[in-house]
């Protein structure tokens, strides 16, 4: 984590540790770049405004050096064009300050799984729920489930990140490609519709709401 604001950095380090991760800190761009080049990290969290070398330059240099470690850019600048610039520089995700820690955690976990073979799979399986990406068919306990195209994509994204918390903003960004705030919480209704299609009439619920964070699809009581 390259973050010059020490209080924020220590808070994040502590919170990540409580969530079962370990984080190393660097307080300026140069130190952070040096540490990142040494490698051994699953995800890099890079603040956009850093002393000595700004965050976007750090990411550009890493990418120029062939370092493919996923990067999450943190920034106080949050407009659409800032995000576009951040992603163009080679960032994999972009989060605007202030953010909820649960949002940061969900995104880090999603990023760290990027290289996971699950990504390339043509079939996602969670418990007795099966999604086939080639035939666009979904079955639960062998019974076909009829989904609208958008519901299919929603389920696909959730299942790709099975066992991980996925936030509402992540769903908006990846399932709808919207980087704006839809004012009212419109995602919840889509989720409850999806839930009524895959979980209704079954003893075990697979699609869980994680309070204050988002949603998670998983089988077996966690």
């Amino acid at each position: 984590m390259i973050e010059d604001e020490r209080e924020t950095a220590h808070f994040l380090q502590k919170a990540l540790k409580e969530s079962g991760h370990s984080a190393e800190l660097a307080h300026d761009g140069e130190d952070g770049l040096a540490a990142a080049l040494e490698g051994g990290f699953d995800v890099l969290i890079v603040d956009r405004m850093l002393p000595r070398l700004d965050g976007l330059s750090v990411v550009r240099k890493l990418r120029a050096d062939g370092v493919r470690t996923p990067v999450l850019i943190l920034s106080a600048l949050g407009e659409v064009d800032d995000k576009v610039k951040g992603l163009r520089a080679g960032g994999d995700d972009y989060l605007t300050k202030p953010y909820a820690f649960s949002e940061l955690l969900a995104r880090i976990e999603a990023l760290s799984r990027r290289g996971d073979p699950q990504e390339q799979q043509t079939r996602y399986v969670v418990g007795d729920l099966v999604l086939d990406r080639l035939s666009h068919r979904v079955t639960r306990a062998g019974e076909p489930v009829a989904l609208q195209p958008r519901e299919f994509r929603l389920l696909e994204y959730l299942m790709r990140h099975a066992g991980q918390v996925v936030t509402r903003t992540m769903l908006l960004e990846h399932v709808w490609d919207y980087h704006f705030d839809p004012q009212t919480n419109v995602i919840d209704v889509h989720i409850s519709r999806l839930r009524s299609k895959i979980d209704k009439n079954f003893e075990e619920s697979l699609l869980h709401t994680i309070r204050g964070a988002g949603y998670m699809i998983s089988a077996g009581k966690s």
């Binding site: 949050g78 407009e79 659409v80 909820a100 919207y178 704006f180 004012q183 009212t184 419109v186 204050g212």
Partner: protein
């Protein structure tokens, strides 16, 4: 500066006058020379044809003809044979023609006069001088010169006086503008520059400056309103946040109480952040700083997607969303911002568009249409609508009409929509849907992006809930 200009003006005038006088003199002199050269040639021919005596006769005869015709015929020893000059002019001794002075016959006039003469040598070595008196010509030139000097002098004086008067007048008006702008700088933004009413360039400048001041005053008023509103709309939730935290500290007894108190504090903070983000976005849109994120996309697909995103939510709020569009409409715009604007308008329609009586599902109709070089997106509900007097106010920042004060929201929804449309050189109209409100977003689309031709007419996209 002024002195240099005057010096230049006078010099140029003097050069012009000098050139005219010199030219006139040259012309007259050349005429005289031509005449006397012809006469000299004629007399020379006479001498050759009829002998020297005839020339002496002719000279003697012509000498009486007029006082301006001057002759001198001299023998080899330079003694006078005939003519009305009393001597061979010393200036023309070397045989060349030119200007000389002579004294007319003593007794008549005593002072010297100027003349131009051409000498010729006749057969037998006699010398003949044919000349003309040019005293009158010189007088004429003198008068011309005097006239020019007087004329140009007068012109210079008038020009200077006029110039000084005009620049005085202009400087006075500029000083008035400076005085006005100084009093504006010290804080009196309501002052305006007076116009002379003649409609000249300075008046135009004054008018433009006044318009600029109007705009600045308007922006300042807007800014003041915004800061007042920020104070109100951010302070209120901040105060609420503080109260909740305090209440949690004071009243909570169990861990669960604390947890709930903190949860509500975070919710309140999130609302404040939302308001803040919306404000920042509006400010940046109004600064026009998001140009590079323009992309070309199918507007119909985007609107259909947003409608689809809101559809389940609408249904839960007992609204029916209906969407009509005439096939693909390609636009070049900021997709995220347009999406945000459409979402805000839909969100508003769902929030406030319900039938006052509350009976049955209300319809919300979303119609996307291409009209010549514009696209128009109309979102119409059949709720209570907005009274015509309030419509303009509804587009302003933070304005939450009384009817909606109780609903959650930042009060920035429609003003953000208006800012997005302004960025795309378009506009937002609020119309009466009888009953209900119709919000019309419209912005220009370049002709090159018009929907592809040959679109089959049957491709009306429909999403009904």
């Amino acid at each position: 500066m002024m002195a240099a200009y005057v010096a230049l003006f006078v010099t140029v005038a003097a050069v012009i006058a000098g050139a005219i006088v010199w030219q006139t003199n040259e012309l007259l002199t050349r005429q005289v020379l031509t005449t006397i050269s012809a006469e000299a040639e004629q007399l020379e021919t006479l001498a050759r044809m009829q002998g020297p005596a005839s020339v002496a006769d002719a000279v003697a005869e012509r000498s009486w003809a007029g006082r301006t015709h001057l002759y001198f015929l001299a023998d080899v020893g330079a003694g006078r044979i005939a003519g009305n000059l009393n001597r061979w002019p010393p200036e023309l001794r070397d045989g060349a023609g030119g200007l000389f002075r002579y004294t007319p016959e003593p007794g008549l006039e005593t002072h010297e006069r100027f003349a131009i003469g051409v000498p010729v040598t006749l057969d037998g070595g006699r010398q003949l001088l044919v000349a003309r008196d040019v005293e009158e010509q010189r007088e004429f030139i003198g008068r011309v010169r005097t006239l020019f000097i007087a004329g140009f002098g007068l012109l210079v004086l008038i020009g200077l006086a006029g110039g000084i008067a005009a620049s005085r007048q202009i400087l006075k008006r500029i000083a008035a503008i400076t005085a006005t702008s100084e009093s504006i700088m010290t804080g009196d933004l309501s002052r305006r520059i007076a116009s002379s009413g003649s409609g000249d360039e300075l008046d135009e400048l004054a008018r433009n400056l006044n318009q600029m001041l109007d705009r600045i005053e308007q922006l300042m008023a807007g800014l003041r309103e915004v800061s007042d509103n920020i104070a109100h709309d951010l302070k209120t939730p901040l105060n609420r946040l503080r109260n909740r935290a305090e209440a949690a500290l004071r009243e909570a007894h169990t861990a669960e109480d604390y947890r709930e108190g903190l949860g509500r504090t975070i919710d309140e903070a999130d609302e404040i952040i939302k308001t803040f983000n919306a404000l920042l976005l509006i400010a940046r849109l109004e600064a026009g700083a998001v140009d590079e994120t323009m992309e070309t996309f199918d507007l119909t697909a985007l609107v259909r997607d947003v409608v689809e995103l809101y559809e389940p939510h609408a249904e839960e709020s007992h609204r029916r969303l209906r969407f009509h569009a005439d096939g693909e409409i390609l636009v070049r715009a900021n997709r995220q911002l347009i999406g945000q604007a459409v979402a805000n308008v839909l969100d508003n329609a769902i929030k406030y568009g319900g039938r006052p009586s509350g009976g049955g599902a209300s319809e919300i109709e979303v119609v996307l249409a291409q009209k010549a070089d514009r696209v128009e997106l109309a979102v119409a509900d059949n709720g209570p609508g907005i009274p015509s007097l309030d419509r303009e106010r509804a587009l302003k920042r933070f304005v939450r009409l009384e009817a909606s004060r109780t609903e959650p929201g930042t009060g920035l929804g429609l003003s953000l929509v208006a800012a997005v449309l302004r960025l795309h050189k378009g506009s937002v109209r609020l119309e009466d849907n009888r009953p209900g409100l119709r919000v019309v977003l419209s912005w220009p689309v370049p002709a090159v992006l018009h929907a592809r031709e040959g679109q089959p007419p049957g491709t009306r996209a429909m999403v009904d809930s």
